[in-house]
Amino acid sequence: MAVEKILLHNVDKPNSHKLDTYLAGGGYEDLRKALAMGRDDLVQLVKDSGLRGRGGAGFPAGLKWSFIPKDPSLQKYLCCNADEGEPGTFKDRIIIEKDPHLLIEGMAITCHAINSDKSYIYIRGEFEYGAQILEQAIEEAYEKGYLGKNIMGTDFSLDMYVHRGYGAYICGEETALLESIEGYRGQPRKKPPFPALAGLNGKPTVINNVESLACIPGIIRKGSKWFANMGPEKSPGPKLFCVSGHIEKPGVYELPMGTTGREIIYEVCGGIKAGRKFKAVIPGGVTAPMLVEKDLDLSMDFDTMAQAGSMLGSGAVIVMDDTTCMVRTSYIINRFFSHESCGKCTPCREGTIWMTQILERMENGEGRPGDVEELERLCDNIFGRTFCPLGDGAVMALRGCLKHFREEFVYHVENGRCMVKGGF
């Protein structure tokens, strides 16, 4: 499946992270073009492109920008969400490490569109290498006048800073991210007010994912129609899929939105590892409920995945073969959520721990009669009752697994061991 690469256009070049390499490929020309455009026209262009947020929620990017008040006396911020932490996701990292100037250019264009002169890249602390690459790239951009005062001789000025998280998945939630930049524990804020009105330091703020921002220069260069015409009408554009698990060729692949799971697994990634049989796939990071064989021909886009009871999320495709025990899988996923619950609200803080304790004893062969029903009751009591989507995510993942593989949980309780034979 050969497609023209827009997001991964530069990543295979030698020294792809250097400014010279980026400039040789026409880098920062889209910023020049954007600076000659009116702000409203820019926002409209991105609206027309149909770009939806690549962090997981799929909110229309242009619409998000349009919520920012136009009052020029107000300080406004752009925060790039580079807190890539949804298990299975490793797409933003490749842009950060291999093509940081694509991100910086996308951010500069976005800042011009929303009339912001101050921006932060919130990167997870574990990506220390990526953070250093970004800092070097920002320094290069300042030296050559792509950041700083009066960029390209215009009245547009922009400062950009890297802010490292330090080990908290919840900071990928946009208001928790803002708390973290302000130097607090990363616990989500009540919405409304939404960040577009009261975000960082109480000022209007746009928070966009790395991949979303990396799409912007391409939209300027090739136009909104080019973007809108790729893939499904309501969730168009190129998409980075990160494929991991029991798969022959794991990696990050740039494909049109709407590519099917079957195409990704069998045509792009060479099929299930060691020729084994497919069992299930998580389409968008561990939060996304798993799908089974009959779902493989569905279009991988925001709306189709939602209709199928799952979500596209970050495009993190985790493939599982027929050796996979679903009790063990659920235990690992829930252990993650209980570890990462921020502790702000009770249903999530306590509920995820209870779920993990039950799954752990099932996994250890010590499941008790009624445990499966207890898990289902817990799901009902957590879902929709948590402060932010983390608790819901834990429930969605477990419900997805129970929906397709409930008999494996019952077997585990009754027999104290896995129903599946194999390695995992």
Binding site: Q75, E84, G85, E86, P87, G88, T89, F90, D92, R93, R124, G125, E126, F127, E128, Y129, Y161, H163, R164, G165, Y166, G167, A168, Y169, S180, I181, E182, G183, Y184, R185, G186, N201, C242, V243, S244, G245, H246, P250, G251, V252, I282, V286, A316, I318, M320, T324, R328, T329, I332, I333, R335, F336, H339, E340, C342, F424
Partner: protein, 155 residues
């Protein structure tokens, strides 16, 4: 005692933010990077610099898992990802291999204070799983053999 070098680095980023409170996370990172952990005394000194209360820094230190407040770690902090994409391709076996090789369990430090072993959540390297982070470096595509070579290769 904060080193002069750390203090200088902290002061250098004051201008990045609209107030000193926002400097706190980065300041703690700068200090921790020097010896691998933070002491209560460090937090008191940082708090003084930033016009904050030490308890506010303690809160940050307790919330974000990468801060080691009053928790010294070995010279090499070996952190193996235990999440699903890594687990599907053998992370548990890698942890067992490391435990046997270093003769410690997860959460422990070797007697010579060289290695501490921890389990961590997804580090965004799922396409090159299983993987681990040692201090600030990532080591990917781990196998039973290369993980031992990597660990023994440290000075």
């Amino acid at each position: 005692m904060l080193s002069d070098c750390a203090k200088e680095k902290i002061k250098k980023i004051y201008g990045n933010y609209s107030d000193l409170h926002s400097v706190s996370m980065t300041a703690m990172q700068i200090v921790q990077r020097e010896i691998g952990h933070l002491t209560k005394e460090d937090l008191i000194e940082i708090a003084e610099m930033l016009d904050m209360k030490p308890i506010e820094l303690d809160e940050i230190g307790g919330f974000y898992t990468m801060y080691n407040v009053e928790r010294p770690v070995g010279k090499y902090h070996v952190q193996v990802c235990e999440n699903l994409p890594c687990a599907l391709v053998g992370a548990e076996h890698i942890i067992t291999v490391i435990e046997r090789h270093l003769k410690i369990k997860v959460g422990e430090t070797t007697a010579d204070k060289r290695y501490t072993l921890s389990r961590v959540q997804c580090l965004g390297s799922c396409g090159t799983a299983p993987m681990m982070q040692v201090n600030e470096e990532f080591y990917e595509d781990l196998t039973e053999r290369n993980v031992i070579e990597i660990l023994d290769g440290f000075e």
